[in-house]
Symmetry: C2
Subunit: 468 residues, 2 copies
């Protein structure tokens, strides 16, 4: 009997050649000059999905760049419906001089395939193509065991500006029992893991304008408002001495990780010195009472992403600045409502702001909610079983500190999200020399092949459940 | 009998033509491309001083741009020696498009003469030339009543980088009983005044570097030091809630203005609304317990002249910045030692600085002491009598909040400084459309003419006294 592992092993070389072809297309959504390449990438993928057997393949247009949608119904009309989310656009490549190999000339070296987009996120789409083939061939099927839908976005690396509208417009066609997000990583090559939470985010631009000109600090200093000082006083009060965000009401509703999850986090093979080296930092710091991983995964934060005012750069200038500015972002966690956090921050700022200057606040959009998956969600358990079959070792859980369009998906579709991703921590996502670890990607493909069987065995109603 | 006023009136037109010629020379010391023009300005002045009758006229070279020195001994070898300080270099002219008239094509309109440098400071040098002529002609003298020395600097608008060394090298030739600084202004056209104090200054560049790269605020935010937050916390603690500088020891030694001086300041015709309009500010603010004029004249301050870190400008970037920076300057007053203030600030910063980041402090030079003249200094009283003769109304005292090379002069020569300046508040110094009010400048010339007589009448020993 041919197994999933057999098919994956037999097809690996040909599959890799196909992926390399796709990786040659510089589908950078952030560069308007490369919009045509993003479209070419979408068309390449649509053709690949058609030759893989998907009966329905469409380019979904947006006011920006196109997504690719594909659908392959199960033979059983009551089979669960799984929607895979990934993206085909890639990050910019600057600084180009730091790439050891040109980013769009993919090269295999040892176990790794190097190219922009191979980890984030074209490799994951390819992983599903190979996984589906193994699922069909090893199972002797002409259709997958679940109804499979694929949504591969074209603007993820540009902040998904048109994605919520697309989700809203296509909600009925995207209806499903579970979403499988394939745009994340694993703890380590020998420690397969899935993600069960992402933080949400709000991003604030703050401007404090005291006047229309800079003043001479000799002639006026000491008797007029200094907006740089005022903004420093605001930002300086953003945290208390324990590293907690000092905005009243900020923590309202926060759902803390369960004792079970904290224990799982604590059990991960974590080397703080290695993490610090990775963070180019000498010391860990942050909110008292939480470990480093808990701080980045489970705790809401306020970060000054940038500030400026008055004379910047070398040299000296004796001025009282006219105005000062800051970018501040808030990561939020399960239980925090973006709108309420925004209200709390605005009320606090109204309290902190000095009189005699104009404080203007501009928020980026409505903010993004946090995403979370229950440890006992049946779909998560099914994913872990599928991965354990492929990897042969227990699968762990992690979270990610960042935020993504997953929150929009969860909100639009209202079903559990699970994360099947095969990127390793040293994959160089958003950085030079991006790479994928081929054996891990192949085990990811095997996991996908098994996952469709595991989900089919549960039945649609169970798959949809948040809790066991 | 010909009076000082007669001579000034008779010579005014010719004198103005001569000044206009000088003002056509763009002697901007800040622009290396115009170094030749600064030299041409020095040579023009040297020639003018020679034709005015100064027996000794020299260009004093520095590693930068030349100063002009002139000396005219009194007939009486025991007469007081007065040293006039001014400068012949000018500010840049940008933004050029805001000049109604080209800055180097001087034009008389109504009572005003418009040109770069006419107020700051060539007009004052010319004022002394005219004053000296009136002094000689009205007094029927072949030499001034005091031994007159003139030092006209060429790099004042560039921070006088070589001036302290020049003072040290020429200390013996500059020896005098009083310095007459002519580089300041008057309260108003109808309120002649002299300056009795300047604040000193220290300028600090502060850099806090946490790492060599910016970090993703999703992946690392909350668990690593944010240097922008840390710098904001430092700057935010620079003042207490009463607007006092919170650095322990900062106020050590501060000499408060006497009750007499506070009363004199309070009696000035001061319109706070007008001052605020001038400051482009909506509200006065600053240290509790002091008036606006006291805050800018008599109180030490800490001002954030600029800060920056992380993502600056439009758009958003989700980073934890690698480093953050600030320029902070401290104005100091009589009784404060720059070196001790520096020590206090450094000790405080060592206390505030977070661990795990590199705090670097760079001070601009050694700092500048404050300058002050006693209300009862005989030379000041002499100046007031001279001005009252010229203006016909009582003369008031003011201070200036800024700092200048005067402190170096006072330290090098150890004699009283008095300030005879005729610039009005709307003169546009360091700004477009710089101008001089000609009648005030002519009264300034008369004041100078009388001053030499007043000082001669006191005798050298009295002129040197700090107190009556």
């Amino acid at each position: 009997m041919t197994t999933v592992a057999d098919v994956v092993a037999a097809q690996a070389d040909q599959w890799l050649d196909q992926l390399v072809e796709w990786l040659r297309i510089p589908s950078q959504s952030g560069d308007p000059a490369l919009a045509g390449e993003v479209r070419r990438s979408a068309e390449w993928l649509a053709a690949a999905l058609r030759s893989a057997g998907f009966p329905t393949v469409e380019l979904w247009e947006t006011p920006g760049l196109p997504s690719v949608y594909a659908e392959w119904p199960a033979d059983d009309p009551d089979a669960p419906v799984a929607l895979v989310y990934a993206h085909h656009d890639v990050q910019p490549v600057e600084p180009l001089e730091q790439w050891v190999r040109p980013p769009y000339e993919p090269r295999v070296e040892g176990d790794r395939l190097y190219a922009r987009g191979v980890a984030d996120d074209k490799g994951h789409v390819a992983m599903h193509l190979l996984g589906l083939r193994a699922h069909l061939e090893a199972g002797g099927r002409s259709a997958p065991a679940v109804t499979l839908k694929l949504l591969v976005e074209g603007e993820e690396e540009s902040g998904s500006p048109h994605f919520p509208a697309l989700l809203a417009a296509q909600r009925e066609r995207l209806a499903c029992d579970v979403v499988v997000v394939s745009d994340t990583g694993m703890w380590a090559e020998d420690v397969p893991s899935t993600v069960i939470g992402l933080r949400g985010m709000l991003y604030l631009h703050l401007d404090l304008v005291a006047r229309d000109v800079d003043l001479h600090s000799g002639s006026f200093g000491g008797a007029v408002l200094n907006p740089a000082t005022a903004v420093a006083r605001i930002l300086g009060r953003l945290h208390d001495d324990d590293g907690r965000v000092a905005v009243p009401g900020f923590y309202d509703g926060v759902v803390d990780p369960s004792d079970e999850e904290r224990a799982l986090i604590a059990s991960l093979p974590f080397d703080e010195q290695e993490w610090l080296a990775n963070a180019h930092s000498r010391v860990a710091s942050g909110e008292a009472g939480w470990t480093t991983l808990e701080r980045v995964w489970c705790r809401p934060t306020a970060e000054v992403n940038g500030f400026w005012g008055g004379h910047v750069g070398a040299g000296s200038k004796t001025i009282v600045p006219r105005e000062a500015h800051a970018h501040v972002s808030f990561r939020i966690v399960a239980g925090q409502e973006p709108a309420k956090v925004r209200e709390a921050v605005e009320a606090w700022l109204a309290d902190c702001a000095p009189s005699g200057a104009q404080l203007s606040l501009e928020w980026e959009g409505d903010g993004v909610r946090a995403c979370s998956t229950s440890l006992d969600a049946p779909a998560l358990q099914a994913l872990h079983r599928a991965m354990e079959t492929a990897f042969g070792v227990p699968v762990r859980v992690t979270r990610e500190g960042g935020s993504g369009p997953e929150a929009d998906i969860q909100e639009a579709l209202g079903v559990p999200l699970v994360y099947l991703g095969a990127t390793l921590p040293d994959a160089g996502c958003h950085a030079p020399n991006e790479n994928a670890h081929i054996p891990t990607l192949l085990k990811g493909a095997q996991s996908a092949a098994h996952l469709w069987d595991e989900l089919a065995a549960l039945g649609a109603e169970t798959v949809r459940r948040e809790h066991a």
